[in-house]
């Protein structure tokens, strides 16, 4: 059962500066984009705020350009726009496939890139109504003092469950952020922390303006894809998701970059996988990659589907995608 929305005021700034000023004036506010995560969480009594700052009226956040200098996606661009963008799909396969796999078509027509990157983390003891959580004595992430997933632990393990972040990460995306101290840029991978109750590295009053992705490649030197496991074939958040990009280097070696979501409290890049040399057995390399994923991933009991299965599934998916994409490079 969800509750009625609490009373709040809705502020609709038209520029980035107005949004920054609105937040500085009322720091208890929350930014609102498509609302497909925030409104649901507000109805579950998970958000304390009396003011929403609606970012959808800011035209700078709607920019979408794909040129020689790379791809720029405004934080307010909807997932549907990306799904329907042929050039993005051609040069950045993983980005289009990740957007296809998010929620249902009704959500995708309003859900934004910024909202997806800043999605709250998820856990079966957290994404419940107020009365349900109260009956379970709340939890560390919100209003309680123990974690029901790891009761002896001191930190929340809720899973980051956005599909788009890993797809952008394997393409080397950076985020552009606006806030009271002006603009800054950082690699998307650095935006996140491994803490389910505080997973975003945004300072107070900051929000995402755009994502910048280095030029894609239509010469078939880079291929990327995204895959996820979920309970049903639509709507469901990832139990585990992986984006993989394979690049043919000038030396002839193949570099494989992979990033995971749905398993940890942050999306993250798999580290320590060397490019596959021309004289190397690719199958042995793919098996090593799968082992590396199993070592670095850390799914917790945050969903009804066991963490062991999610660990194995994401490692198998990574191996499968890497193999397929490498073949496509030939």
């Amino acid at each position: 059962m969800t509750e009625a929305l609490p009373e709040f005021t809705l502020d609709r700034p038209e520029t980035i500066d107005q949004a920054v000023t609105a937040m500085a004036k009322r720091p208890s506010s929350r930014f609102l984009a498509g609302g497909t995560d925030l409104i649901v969480n507000m109805r579950r009594g998970l958000v304390d705020t009396d003011c929403l700052i609606d970012l959808t009226g800011i035209s700078e956040l709607q920019q979408l350009s794909d040129g020689k200098s790379g791809l720029t996606i405004g934080a307010g661009v909807t997932l549907r726009e990306i799904c329907e963008h042929r050039d993005i799909r051609r040069s950045y396969g993983a980005i289009g496939e990740a957007c296809d796999a998010i929620a249902g078509p009704g959500h995708r027509s309003v859900a934004t890139v910024g909202g997806n990157l800043c999605l709250d983390t998820r856990c079966m003891y957290y994404n419940q109504s107020h009365w349900w959580r109260k009956a379970n004595d709340f939890c560390l992430k919100y209003k309680g003092d123990t974690c029901h997933v790891a009761p002896t632990g001191k930190r929340c393990r809720a899973a980051f469950s956005g599909d788009l972040a890993p797809a952008l990460m394997v393409h080397g995306a950076e985020v552009e952020i606006a806030g009271p101290d002006g603009r800054r840029r950082m690699p998307l991978a650095d935006l996140y922390h491994e803490d389910g109750a505080n997973h975003l590295g945004l300072k107070s009053g900051e929000f995402i303006v755009a994502v910048h992705v280095p030029p894609g490649d239509t010469q078939r030197m880079v291929r990327s894809a995204y895959a996820k496991v979920r309970i049903r074939g639509a709507i469901d958040f990832p139990l585990a998701g992986v984006a993989v990009a394979c690049t043919r280097l000038a030396s002839g070696e193949v570099r494989i970059t992979s990033a995971l979501t749905g398993t940890n409290s942050r999306p993250f890049l798999i580290e320590g996988f060397d490019p596959i040399g021309l004289d190397q057995d690719p199958d042995a390399a793919f098996t090593n990659l799968a082992k590396l994923v199993q070592k670095q991933v850390s799914p917790q009991r945050t969903s009804t589907i066991g963490s062991h299965y999610r660990r194995l599934a994401v490692s198998a998916l990574t191996q499968r995608l890497a193999k397929r994409l490498t073949l496509e490079l030939e």
């Binding site: 809705l10 009704g106 027509s109 709507i235």
Partner: protein, 155 residues
């Protein structure tokens, strides 16, 4: 706080003072007395509340009414024209695409959004378009058949 919103609902211009925190589904049902769109899960998960906003399906239970200022809303009530059922309504009726009927307004609006973009959709397109709409009765086969029939009827 309240604000005045002006929007079109099924072609008619409407102006109302609404609270900032009023949901579109409550606005349609309680203020506009358009009770076709249903509240199912009430949390964005089932699609029973699907309406079209500027031609695109959207769950009205997680949409703020105030964010629809200046937009075009279409609900199941707008399907009938001059006392005649739409092709989709007739096809759902004739192909048993509706049983208890609770999901039907949302299903038809999701299908309407699809047929406008793709008048002769493949089964895969139909399935994708209905990805956010749940039905506990029909098993979906007859819903897909109904949409196929409506697409044929529109040719």
């Amino acid at each position: 706080m309240k604000q005045i919103i002006a929007l079109r609902i099924n072609g008619a211009v409407c102006e109302d003072a609404v609270s900032d925190s009023l949901l579109l589904i409550d606005y349609l049902r309680e203020v506009r007395h358009l009770t076709g769109a249903k509240m199912g899960c009430d949390g964005g998960e089932c699609g029973a509340c699907t309406v079209l906003v500027d031609g695109h399906p959207r769950p009205a239970c997680i949409t703020l009414a105030a964010s629809c200022n200046g937009r075009e809303i279409e609900t199941i009530e707008g399907q009938v024209s001059n006392g005649r059922l739409s092709a989709l309504q007739r096809a759902f009726h004739e192909n048993l695409g509706t049983q208890c009927g609770y999901c039907t307004p949302g299903m038809i609006m999701a299908a309407e959004g699809l047929l406008r973009r793709s008048p002769t959709p493949s089964d895969r397109e139909i399935r994708t378009a209905l990805g956010g709409n749940l039905c506990r009765c029909t098993g979906y086969v007859k819903i897909i058949k109904s949409i196929r029939a409506a697409a044929g009827a529109q040719l």
